[in-house]
């Protein structure tokens, strides 16, 4: 079974997109970053959500969105990026190490995929390629660009 969870920060405001890029933008675009966790697992979906809440969510400062749909709305485009399957993902290793040391795991977790999602907001015809080239490192990252519905 596969389940997708997206975690958003409750208190972080959208920031100026120029902070993501090597050179400042002429346009007034803003961004927010979230994390998407894709779990391949056997067991109850509710137990998977509980595992994510306990392990990956800060219930005070963050909110959990479950499902493939985007957690945020009204964005221009979004970029999902994460470590290549062959690259060493220390965050994933740390989470999996914790999972393997659980005395009684609530689910059988066979794969965990961690991605950062960058939502870009505003009115512009700018190509996402500029963001991809400045945010993603082709040596270690894979990425997907998603066009917004605006």
């Amino acid at each position: 079974m596969k389940a997708v969870f997206e975690i958003t920060d409750r208190y972080l405001e959208a920031g100026d997109c120029s902070a993501l890029l090597y050179a400042p933008l002429d346009e007034a675009l803003t961004y927010r970053q979230t994390r998407r966790y894709t779990l391949d697992f056997e067991g109850d979906e509710g137990a998977a959500a509980d595992f994510v809440s306990k392990t990956l969510l800060d219930e005070v400062g963050q909110e959990l969105h479950q499902g493939e749909s985007a957690a945020l709305q009204d964005w221009l485009f979004a970029i999902d990026y994460g470590m290549k399957p062959g690259a060493l993902d220390l965050e994933k290793e740390a989470v999996m190490s914790y999972y393997h040391n659980l005395k009684s795991a609530p689910i059988v977790l066979s794969e965990l995929k961690i991605e950062h999602r960058v939502y870009v907001f505003g009115e512009s015809s700018i190509s996402p390629d500029r963001f991809v080239s400045d945010i993603c490192n082709p040596a270690v990252h894979t990425w997907t660009v998603i066009e917004g519905e605006k």
């Binding site: 392990t55 990956l56 800060d58 989470v95």
Partner: protein, 244 residues
């Protein structure tokens, strides 16, 4: 020979302030051991007066600062730290240690999230001691003093801003920044639990043990000595434990 109060410092992969914190504790009179979390079990808390979680980047701050250290500690220790506190033990969390104690539920509910600037902050800050409730950790300190900070995730938040205001009003928000430096609700820099035996703070007292550590070479200790403000914090808890 008189037994000195004993401090145990828990070290996680990525903890990097344990050596200087242990040195600070020894300087005020504690005996102190640093123990990697892989060697920790509930029996290691026997004979310990103060458990310290020092600063650093445990588990690389992966997921969020302090989360994996919290989970691993709970796996290894269960409720032992809560039992330790309930039996009269003291706990101190500095910076990353504050983040871990908060996530473990040993301090009032809240969270330490990314600074509102989105950047790591490393500078000296002015702090104010709360006046509503005494803290055995802060007793020997003046009402206002300076300490260095070094954090990316030091913005203290609660589920709503009113909860943070209530913490300050009740005296549990025992340390506040004199000005807004990271977006913390009610400018909270440190909190204690209801018992007063658990304190978490973002600033680093172990980095101001001597007046020579201050950025201003002309800085003078009001008490006239050679010590920095951090010394008096460790000395306060040493004296508290010694008189038991």
């Amino acid at each position: 020979m008189e037994k000195r109060p004993h401090a145990l410092l828990l070290k996680f992969p990525g903890t990097n302030c344990d050596a200087e914190t242990a040195r600070a504790l020894r300087e005020v009179g504690f005996s102190a051991d640093v123990l990697p979390i892989s060697q920790v079990d509930p029996s290691k808390l026997e004979g310990v007066d103060l458990v310290v979680l020092s600063g650093g980047f445990s588990y690389g701050d992966y997921v969020m600062a302090g989360r994996l250290a919290q989970l691993v500690s709970e796996n290894r220790l269960g409720d032992s730290l809560k039992q330790f506190r309930d039996a009269g033990g003291y706990l101190l969390g500095i910076c990353n240690g504050f983040q871990i104690l908060t996530r473990m539920g040993l301090l009032p509910e809240g969270s330490l999230i990314h600074n509102d600037s989105g950047r790591f902050k490393c500078n000296w800050v002015k702090l104010k001691k709360g006046s509503q409730k005494d803290s055995p950790f802060l007793r020997g300190l003046p009402d206002e003093f300076e300490l260095p900070i070094a954090h990316a995730e030091g913005r203290f938040v609660t589920k709503d801003a009113g909860e943070a205001e209530a913490l300050v009003a009740s005296g549990l928000g025992v340390l506040t920044y004199a000005e807004d430096i990271n977006g913390s609700f009610s400018q909270i820099a440190g909190i204690q639990d209801e018992s007063g035996r658990v304190l978490g703070l973002m600033p680093h007292p172990e980095r101001f043990m001597s007046r020579d550590h201050h950025y201003d070479p002309d800085w003078k200790n009001e008490a006239g000595g050679e010590h920095g403000t951090g010394y008096y914090m460790f000395r306060s808890i040493f004296e508290e434990i010694s008189k038991r």
